[in-house]
Amino acid sequence: MDQTIICRCEEVSLHDIQHTAATYNCSAREVKLRTRAGMGYCGGRTCRPAVDAVLEAATGEKAGHDIPMKVQPPVRPVSLSVLGGEVK
């Protein structure tokens, strides 16, 4: 169970999150930044509910919109050329 992967993109296990929260006795946001849980390619679209639930259990913080995992644009990955326009 410990080795269950919570965040696939950054390969963060349940143990990583629980251990970090216990070691540093810190906020959900700090656990996220220290472990990179939810900071990978999926931008949380796959892992958010799991990461939120584990962080809430580990830190006691309820997941809000801002903390622990603020949704940052773009909503899904886009190529540089979509943003910057193809070179014509």
């Binding site: 900071m39 931008g43 940052q72 644009p73 990955p77 886009v78 190529s79 540089l80 943003l83």
Partner: protein, 393 residues
């Protein structure tokens, strides 16, 4: 009042500057408390990139400060227990045209004459750095001593060590009022603290702290956007800025399209330890509105493709914004305030906070202890330098 809430020195602000101050002051054996309204590194210090650079500093005092910071960072990499992704690889400045190339040559000569490790790079050198550069980029320059760090991990690491030296940490405590009699009384949303000395290290929020003591601190938020690119093929190892970044920073004239100028956009590319990469940058005066402006992001993407056209199919996964604490002469304020003895300011490091945090922390520790032979000269950083000059953007 319990002793728990009294300290010799109270530091307001848990960004990289406040964390560095806390580390050096606690290390000197001074009883201190750090008061932060949210979390450690929850403002500008987690909404930036991670350069400890000289490459973008004006030769002279500006580059001296960064040089001292780089020396301190080398020490900290050995002293601190928690790693902070320190990568001393040097960094690059790239030129868009021959005119910038000419300026780059002069830049290298000046910096080399000042004893700094700068080298000019030609087209072939750049090709060695990265296969993704546009073919028509004529060259650039490198500074060998520049390094990269992860700013928020650096903050955590400094705090961890500072606590071992006795630092008291109070997060989730927003300062609501400060009064001064024999000692300072600092009221917060999470308790009241007293201290003999106070350091205002609140970055772009430093003016609000100043107002509580009827002090006008001329710092203005300058907003910057950054994109996060997903790990794909390695682009390059070292940090890159374009020469125009210097022009933007110091408000000098550039030859670019209107939108690029309007949004203050200049290329910055930083490979991160996680193998993602950061793409910047923008600089705008829009108050404290932190929303992402897609128009600015598009301008940044277009600018990135000017230098790296072969990266057009690389994927961007995130964007964020941060507020850089701007001052009119592009130098921070690191100084005691003459009219309020015991009140210090360490803020206003626009775009240089990561580079200059350590030297700032060390200097504040020296000022507090009354050391006369300080790590860098203190005059250029004095608060009263603004007294006779009106602040304009």
């Amino acid at each position: 009042m319990s002793m728990k809430n009294h300290a010799e020195v109270a530091i307001i602000g848990g960004g990289i500057v406040g964390c560095a101050i806390a580390y050096y002051v606690a290390k000197s054996g001074i009883d201190c408390v750090l008061i932060e309204k949210n979390d450690i590194a929850s403002g500008t210090s987690s909404r930036c990139d991670g350069n400890v650079t000289i490459v973008d500093k004006d030769p002279g005092f500006d580059s001296l400060m960064s040089w001292k910071s780089q020396e301190l960072t080398i020490e900290l990499n050995k002293e601190l227990d928690l790693p902070f992704e320190y990568r001393p690889l040097g960094s690059l400045l790239v030129c868009e045209n021959d005119r910038e190339m000419q300026a780059a040559k002069e830049w290298v000569d000046i910096q080399t004459a000042a004893g700094l490790k700068f080298n000019l790079l030609d087209r072939e050198d750049l090709r060695q750095e990265s296969p993704y550069f546009a073919d028509d980029i004529p060259g650039g320059l490198e500074c060998e001593t520049d390094s990269l760090i992860n700013p928020y991990l650096f903050c955590y690491s400094l705090i961890e060590k500072a606590k071992q030296y006795g630092l008291k940490l109070q997060t989730q405590a927003e300062v609501t009022n400060i009064t001064k009699k024999e000692t300072f009384t600092i009221e917060t949303t999470n308790g009241t603290f007293t201290a003999k000395k106070v350091v205002n290290a609140a970055g772009v929020w430093a003016p609000f702290i100043g107002k509580m003591l009827d002090l006008d601190i001329p710092i203005i938020p300058r907003k910057g956007h950054i994109m996060v690119g997903a790990r794909q093929k390695p682009i390059m190892m070292r940090n890159v800025m374009e020469f125009g970044y210097l022009m933007n920073k110091f408000g000098r004239e550039r030859i670019v399209d209107k939108r690029t100028e309007q949004h203050g956009v200049a290329l910055v590319l930083e490979p991160t330890e996680s193998q993602n990469f950061l793409l910047g940058s923008s600089r705008q005066f829009v108050g404290y509105d932190g929303r992402i402006d897609i128009n600015v992001v598009e301008t940044m993407a277009r600018r990135a493709m000017r230098f790296y056209p072969k990266m057009n199919d690389f994927t961007m996964i995130r964007t964020y914004t941060g507020f850089r604490p701007w001052t009119s002469d592009h130098l921070p304020i690191v100084s005691e305030v003459d009219s309020i003895p015991g009140f210090f300011i360490a803020a206003g490091h626009e775009g240089d906070g990561i580079s200059l945090a350590t030297v700032t922390g060390k200097l504040i520790d020296e000022l507090i202890r009354g050391v006369s032979d300080t790590i860098i000269p203190t005059d250029p950083l004095r608060f009263d330098r603004f007294a006779k000059v009106a602040v304009t953007q």
